[in-house]
């Protein structure tokens, strides 16, 4: 099952709603109720404007803008993992798997708190989102299915983590050169270097991604033969199967070291690629909802 197609469908009309409800009246009534919920209706608009502000002009924004971008994704992940932990599917997962998810959830919650406090300390307003869409979450039919590419909770987790890694990576240069900030309120965080803080979160997301991928019997790094490789998470202007770095096609024989040729698989796996805010918007927006 192509995960990307599912996301595309849900971004328009939720087919599962239509399948589950008894009558057409109930369907339209339900959709009308959903449309009336201002948070749900507004969320994609707010999110879109937020991301547009992030990449609209040459000024990539302040540290607050970049941290709010990060906070949006952390809120999404945190909400997702809370839903996982509360689900009946999770309760039948192994103790080791549960412990891993709880450790990851602990970090995402910590990231949310940290980013909120940093933004407040910088006199900004932390962004809020409704959460991870319940409708999307309910399409995940198992914790960790045996069928590659099936809509499982861990498949979604992998996409979230790998997207998060690429999203942070895509904004690092926006934080480059930003001065240290001494943050004492609302909590005393001491001296924060914005870029360093972002990098220290980014590598944790990569650790998460590695473990989730391993739980799903995938390689810890993004390999060209992953079962979710066709998802938007692994595409973009610089897709994850890219083998060119700084003008070098790393698969060309002897391109760097005479007599040494690297495989496309290794060359692609050795570097994680960035995602631009626009690309993250495409991936994240359908996942955000009440």
């Amino acid at each position: 099952m192509n995960f990307l197609n599912i996301i595309n469908q849900l971004a328009e009309v939720d087919p599962d709603v239509l399948d589950r409800l008894d009558s057409r009246r109930a369907v339209f009534s339900s959709l009308g109720t959903i449309a009336k919920r201002s948070t749900l209706a507004a969320a994609p608009v707010l999110l879109a404007s937020f991301f547009q502000k992030a990449y609209a002009g040459t000024n990539a924004g302040s540290a607050v803008d970049v941290f709010n971008y990060a906070l949006t994704l952390e809120l999404l992940e945190s909400s997702f993992y809370n839903k996982v932990i509360a689900s009946t599917l999770f309760s039948s997962a192994s103790a080791a798997d549960q412990a891993a998810i709880r450790q990851i959830a602990k970090h995402e919650a910590a990231h949310v708190t940290l980013l909120q406090n940093v933004i407040l300390g910088l006199k900004g307003t932390p962004v809020t989102i409704p959460g991870f869409s319940t409708a999307v979450f309910n399409t995940l039919t198992s914790f960790n299915g045996s069928t590659p590419g099936a809509t499982t909770q861990l498949a979604m987790a992998q996409l979230l983590e790998d997207t998060g890694v690429r999203a942070y990576k895509g904004r690092a240069t926006d934080l480059q050169g930003m001065a240290d900030a001494v943050i004492t309120t609302p909590v005393n965080l001491g001296t924060i270097n914005p870029l360093e803080a972002a990098l220290r979160i980014h590598s944790v997301e990569a650790r998460h991604a590695a473990h989730i991928r391993t739980m799903r019997k995938q390689t810890a790094w993004i390999n060209s033969d992953g079962d979710l490789d066709s998802a938007a998470t692994y595409q973009g202007a610089t897709p994850e199967n890219n083998v060119k770095q700084a003008g070098y096609d790393l698969t060309t024989a002897g391109v760097i070291t005479t007599g040494v040729t690297y495989s496309a698989k290794d060359a692609a796996a050795a570097f994680d690629e960035i995602l631009t805010p626009a690309e993250v918007l495409v991936i994240a927006t359908p996942l955000i909802g009440a």
């Binding site: 944790v204 650790r207 590695a210």
Partner: protein, 240 residues
Amino acid sequence: MSTILTRPEPALDKPLYTPIKRRSFFMYAGATAGATALVLAGCSKNDSSPGMVNLGNGNLSVLNYAYSLEQLEAAFYAQVVKTPATDFQTGELAYFTQVAAHEAIHRDFLKAAIINVAKGTPIQDLTPDFSTITFTSRASVLGAAKAFEDLGVAAYNGAGKLISASDPNGATYLTVAGKIVSVEARHAAYIRDLLTPGSFAADDQVDAASGLDKSMTPVDVISAAQMYIVQRIDASSVGK
């Protein structure tokens, strides 16, 4: 160490990266044989004989710093693949073979970037000292791998802010470093799980309260890595 201090070194009275007055040099050299090698900052970085390697300053130094660490990791994994542990479990040698390729790619790519993008001179090929690692032992190899990978993550996390954006290639260097560090973190997570299942992002590495991974200064990183490198590395000016 005493050999380095007493061997006549004509280049030492010529300031290179860290100028040192002749009087100061003789004062230090005359002190004790136990004086630290950091005094000998005047060693040529292209000297192919064992000695001091000064990473320099500016963005080139950050690249050479990363290059030094990737050299170490690449050499380690090459040795692991060459002389695998006798008690590796199924699939572990295959894992190390892939990681060895990643690190070799990182190393070679950084060297090429230093020469062709930064238009600078890469540091010499370093000589590893893996005498404290028992390559026939899975536990020893995994322990060393974990140390190298976690150290590499902390190194890149601390180095990012040292890359100057006033250099026209500054953004490129940061992006490249970013592309590498997350792969190192994936390695680190995987190795940790092999050693202790579930420790991919354990509280000893990722702060429980903040969710932040470790970050270290170049001097601290090189200090930790020094036991695995024959040449003495001076990281005191990296990024300055």
